[in-house]
């Protein structure tokens, strides 16, 4: 068996009739980016909240935060995807479930929610670590200045914590982006799914996957570059 390489395949029309194979991959890329960004908004805000909960003096708040993190970190992402897609609509009241299932692009919304909640548990851990590595004096100084707990977090602890955890947050962002590919199991037509469709339609296995690989590498490179620029930009002068 000899493999017939055909790199011009990208410029041939795909059987979907909406453009070339390259267009097909690009449409996949845009779904990947849309899913990654939307879910990151949920992950970042919810994750910060949960992370903060785990550092509050209140036992109850800590327990809620810990339970959330344990729950979402200890079930495989794919299983969570299935739970959101197949199980949640069935246990919702009948009409809601039907509405949810017949929503156009329902796999996109499901993927965004699922990834958002999943990645939030990871962001929460980073935020907690970030806050815990800050010198205790910072919190005390905040209290001494008469700031409320909310103000201490808003103006003192979180801005510093985010600076500390920017590198790990970047890799969580990239993980979240890579994890969007798991949503192909619930019918999201993201980049990996499109590469696979291309492989199926054109039978050019290696060209399709090579293209997807190059695109993912490119995205990683861009994200890492932007993040390190950001890191120097927001650094507190004299802090390192």
């Amino acid at each position: 068996m000899n493999y017939n390489w055909n790199w011009r395949i990208f410029f041939e029309p795909s059987p979907e009739g909406t453009g070339t194979y390259a267009d097909m991959l690009l449409s996949g890329l845009s779904w990947t980016i849309a899913t990654a960004l939307c879910s990151w908004i949920i992950a970042f805000s919810l994750g910060s909240l949960i992370g903060v909960l785990r550092t509050l003096p209140s036992r109850g708040a800590q327990r809620v935060g810990t339970t959330y993190v344990e729950l979402f970190r200890n079930i495989p992402l794919l299983v969570q995807m299935f739970l959101w897609f197949y199980v949640v609509p069935e246990i919702l009241p009948g009409s809601w479930g039907t509405w949810l299932k017949q929503l156009p692009n329902s796999s996109f919304y499901t993927a965004v929610l699922c990834l958002g909640f999943f990645t939030a548990s990871r962001v929460a851990e980073q935020v907690r670590t970030g806050i815990e590595t800050l010198p205790r004096g910072q919190r005390m100084a905040g209290t001494a200045l008469g700031l409320t707990t909310w103000q201490t977090y808003r103006y003192v602890l979180l801005p510093n914590a985010y600076r500390v955890i920017l590198p790990p947050l970047t890799s969580e962002f990239l993980n979240n982006l890579k994890n969007t590919s798991v949503a192909l199991t619930i019918g999201l037509l993201e980049l990996t799914a499109r590469a696979r469709s291309m492989q199926e339609f054109s039978s050019q296995v290696f060209e399709s996957f090579t293209a997807a690989t190059v695109i993912y590498l490119g995205i990683s490179l861009i994200v890492v570059t932007v993040s390190s620029k950001l890191e120097t930009r927001i650094a507190v002068p004299g802090s390192r």
Partner: protein
Amino acid sequence: MHFGHHRSAALSAAVVLASAMGITLGASGAGAQELTGTLKKIKETGEITIGYRDASVPFSYLDGDQKPVGYAFEICKKIAEAVKTNLKLTKLEVKLNPVTSATRIPLIANGTVDLECGSTTNNVDRQKQVAFTNTHFLTATRYVAKKSAKLDTIEDLKGKTVVSTSGTTNIRQINEANTARGLGLTILPAKDHAEAFLMVETGRAAAFVMDDVLLASLAASSKEPGAYAISSEALSKPEPYGIMLRKDDAPFKAVVDEATAKLYKSPEGKALYETWFTKPIPPRGINLSLPMSDPMKKAFESPSDSADPAAY
């Protein structure tokens, strides 16, 4: 070997090959020749790998004990026996490997699987990648939907979400129809038939576009067989199903073609068909009640590996 559209040429070539094979076997046996390709590999390793599907009822699927069974699976077992006899092996280990619609062609090509037994449509496009032996079934592309949705024609699907199995000719056909007729469909690719049917069952998609025989068996084995209806309008003519093998491996193909032709023409072939299409089948004892159609009878009387629907 490339048969293209010309049925007569394909037939006569097959006949010549088959008889040539017969003579060779009678005269000296295959062992006397220099073995190449898949036959050589099977002889050396004492193993043949069969690819099976997990939900192509009744062709190749998992029964109640999660063991592969089915009409095409049985045909492959017969082929394996014929290969064993041909190579004069005392023992031939049959290894099983699960395949999906999406993985079957690459896995045949890259040597993981020697024979793919399932419900693979034989068409000219695929013959650029793989070879097919004689046709074992004929089926057209239609869709299944819930009866309550009252869908029957292709036009009825306008604006709806439909699902099909990725890597199939059917998903390609619905994509083409979508563009050509401006249907405005959302087309979801599913990993396998079971997952695709599930999308209709749970209301995620309005219809599942697939070979009608598979739709009939999926609906029949579902929890509420009466709740589903298959469209009257078809997206394609009845197309042939064939067992897949590696391309450019004429000696292996000749053995397989001969074995299948012999089987299909024999009463045993007819009985095999009846076992899976007109009698209760595992795991739940449903009966598909699909007696042999006339084109199917013809395909068994004069076995052919042509990809052209008009040839049947």
